[in-house]
């Protein structure tokens, strides 16, 4: 569903050019669970931002569901983001003034759903993360893990086909992290494509596919492994 070809992302600030991504190629299929790892500053967040249409790459082509999203208007990009993409951030990024219900409501508002539809979707999403009883609470009244679950509910409420998570467990203890990971695996099992950036190798291995970003380019561990195993089996067959 996602296909990036020769993506390049250059940040220019005060005469300094930073290549956040270069010659970045990646295809992600429907239903995959991709874990992205890589050293700090290698371009993981940049990749997610481009994938989620928050930023436009300097060059290269990016197709989402077969549609090139490179030169779309802000309105159209916002709409795609709203309908197809769900975001989960390391810092949760809940709105402190809005209660849980209203937080989950935000993307649905921009979707233009009716009140009744929204209510149904919000309740569904909160139920899925086990927080339906906390609808009227403010984020500050929840624990970090609960906040992240609200963020997941918010990302899921509009039933996106594509979930982007930037270190969703970075601020959580390992027990909480396991819970959140479990939740993501369940979601993936229901058919949502997930791309997750993480520093935690334990979590990364639980994903079906692992890619590593090094210096702005992908090295797809699974694919390499795949190729290696293929070669090995070929050799074995030959043998």
């Amino acid at each position: 569903m996602l296909s990036m070809k020769k993506i390049e992302m250059v940040y220019r600030a005060d005469m300094v050019e930073t290549y956040a991504l270069r010659n970045f190629n990646l295809d992600v299929n429907d239903g995959e669970f991709v874990a992205v790892t890589g050293p700090s500053g290698s371009g993981k967040t940049t990749f997610l931002n481009i994938a989620g249409l928050l930023e436009e790459p300097t060059s290269g082509t990016y197709e989402l569901d077969g549609e090139s999203v490179g030169k779309l208007s802000d309105k159209k990009r916002s709409q795609i983001r709203n309908e197809k993409v769900g975001f989960i951030f390391q810092g949760f990024n809940l709105m402190p003034d809005l209660n849980i219900f209203d937080n989950v409501d935000v993307p649905l508002r921009y979707r233009g759903f009716s009140g009744a539809e929204r209510k149904k979707l919000i309740e569904e999403a909160l139920e899925k993360v086990g927080l339906q009883s906390r609808m009227k609470h403010l984020p500050s009244q929840l624990s970090g893990g609960q906040q992240q679950r609200v963020a997941i509910a918010r990302a899921l409420a509009g039933k996106p086909r594509f979930l982007l998570a930037d270190e969703p467990t970075g601020n959580l203890d390992s027990l909480m992290a396991q819970q959140v990971m479990q939740m993501l695996e369940d979601i993936n099992a229901e058919g949502t494509t997930i791309i997750m950036v993480t520093h935690d190798p334990e979590l990364a291995v639980r994903a079906r596919r692992n890619i590593q970003i090094l210096d702005g380019s992908v090295s797809d561990l699974d694919e390499m492994m795949h190729r290696v195993t293929e070669k090995v089996s070929a050799v074995a067959e030959e043998a």
């Binding site: 928050l54 930023e55 709203n82 809005l98 509009g158 970075g170």
Partner: protein, 440 residues
Amino acid sequence: MFAYYLRLAWQSIKRNIIISSLMVLALALGVGSFMITMTVYYYASSDPIPEKSDRLLAIQLDAGDIESDYEVESSKDLWASLTYLDANNLMEEDLPVVDKTLHYRFGTLVLPEDKDIDYFGAEVRATTRSFFSMFDIDFIYGGSWSEADDEGKNVIVINEEINDKLFSGEDSVGQTLKTNDGNFKIVGVIKTWDIAMPYFEPYPHIGHEFAEVYAPINTFINKEPFSFNGSMNCWKPFDRSNHDAFLQAECAWVGFWVELASKDDKPQLIESLNNYTANQKTLGRFQRPTNNFATDVNGWLKQHEVAEGPVQLMQSMSFLFLLVCLINTIGLLAAKFIGKSTDVSVRRALGASKSDIFKQNLIEVSLIGFVGGLLGLLFAVVGLRWVRELFGDSLERFSTLDPTLIIMGVVVAILASILSGIYPSWRAASAPPAANLKTQ
């Protein structure tokens, strides 16, 4: 979506309730003070008789002293009134006009027949019957006096106030008004004027009172001792003990106005005036260059700078004050929206487009503006009372807000707040969506 934005706006205002109320207050003060000075300016400069202000013209002639070597570049440089001799002559002269009138004013003492009412002073405008129709003065009862009365009969038109005082507001036409200048038969009662000042005065200014009663000029012109209120300027000696000599004297003190059929007739009018002064030259008068002017109502008000001086000063000061309030608001809003930038980025990530965010912000700003505008209007109403007290009676007629001004006030407030909100709203909306999502 509008209701949603309104709710968000309200929430955001509530979160920063102190800052938001201060913003509202600042905006209200700015708008309020601007409204006050605008009101004064509006009354001082608005056309008092829009239907025909371009056809009503004040006449000025340069009858001055040959020895005075003043230069006349515009009508400003001449006395604003005529000599009685010229005004009277022009009444007889065949001018290309529909109507004409001359007038001056003086004080009299009204002696009410009802002993419970004290004597009181009143100002009389001595004029002709055409005065009322020329200046569109509305009558409650009766009307102007007849042509025959113009010859010098003891008839009088009184204003609403005196009619209320002496006749408890009832139709007093046919009754007698006793004064120490004689007894007069009341022929009409005029409505209180809702204009700023008697603009037809030779030297109109804010705070000028309207005369209370009106009577034929010929009833008084030969009266001795003669009384007169206003500005009189003489440039040739004459025998001051002789009233006829005074009426013939080179003293400017009589106002003279004409009404044209069409404003295009002005060149013909000037030509007739020039003919008149040319004839007078042969009699030894008008020895100076020909400088005759006919100035329409708005030109007259401008010539006398009625909307200048303190009015202008306060207007420019209050405008600058409003400007400071607006800049202050822009600064506060910018700061406020920058404070919200994470919020904006999250919304953007969740699918809000630039214009969604812009709308959301603008609605918040407009809400503040709307409340500020309403409060400003309230300030203006209270402030106008205060200003009226400061200036005493001279601003009596300036202290009400008419609907035009109220609408203007609300428009100014909302426009001001939106203007000050556009930039911060746009700034906040156009921040790159990913910028504030990284954990700091």
